[in-house]
Symmetry: C2
Subunit: 162 residues, 2 copies
Amino acid sequence: MSHTKKYTEVALHALKEKGYRITKPRRLVVEMLNTSDIALSAYEIRDRLEAEGEKVDKVSIYRILECLEENHLIHRVLMTGKVRKCQLEDEDHCHLNQADHCHHLLICEQCGFIEEVHCPGMNRIVQQVAEDAQFTVKSHHLEFLGLCQKCNSPHHKKTAAN
Amino acid sequence: MSHTKKYTEVALHALKEKGYRITKPRRLVVEMLNTSDIALSAYEIRDRLEAEGEKVDKVSIYRILECLEENHLIHRVLMTGKVRKCQLEDEDHCHLNQADHCHHLLICEQCGFIEEVHCPGMNRIVQQVAEDAQFTVKSHHLEFLGLCQKCNSPHHKKTAAN
DNA sequence: TTTGTACTGCAATATTATTGCAATAGTAAA
DNA sequence: TTTACTATTGCAATAATATTGCAGTACAAA
């Protein structure tokens, strides 16, 4: 689900706490991701902003995304492959300086809708795998591909969410 | 671990069964992936082949990778992001026409070494998530990032596997 | 061998991402 | 408020990655 407008300010404020400036381009990008139910690539963000009459250079968008990602305010969706797609963290995941970020995503192949989910048993699996393979696991990323409830229903219309 | 040389023939033969031709470029690409402990991008494959005195056009490599991927002989490593990296399936995973392909990968951030692992509890998690979110899960992808045993040891040398 | 066509290689082009630098605009302090 | 510092942006150029169309090649079956 898309975040509240207020969350944009929360995210920007978190950045400011760390010494970053709150600029118009940053606000626009965060706001855009904030209100989108689907992940967006850098170019998609630029195009959507342009459609709204806001011009932000693609280079700036890349740099803004990099900044947001470094500070764990967004993360990439990997299944979709070639483009760098991002979405805001869930509110309860939004903690700067948080060490272990694990992302469990449901991704609808039909409409692109993305939702974060909680996976109760994952910790145990992580521990088990790490032990078996003598591997130090620092983070993990789990994505489920399939059909969301809406697209799965017999009456679904083929529209992209948001 | 890298696959046996014989496995290259197994993979190529699996393709032939499906009506594909066994060509020199295909054999070279499969062989290259076969003997590499780390995932490779299209351009990396081309460069390595060139270093061996074998010339295969990048376009052909893209098309070969596409073919191999469609037939589940290789799959992409997503965590590494922007490049399309591939590696051969584990032998016991190599079944054409297999419906559900789930990839559980250990990825060493230091040396790039990649290993497939078995995750005993995953099925239950998949079912649980699907039920909770009313989502039809068709496939999933799980990747662990961290340090392999070798790179984690105090005596490790910073070299790329293979 | 011969023959049909799957496949490759080349050229051109599209898409995505990065770098350096001058101009701009947040922000803190005066 | 105004000033001054500098983080950040936008532009231009370029690099890296990926795709398309088509003519020529080489697999594989007969």
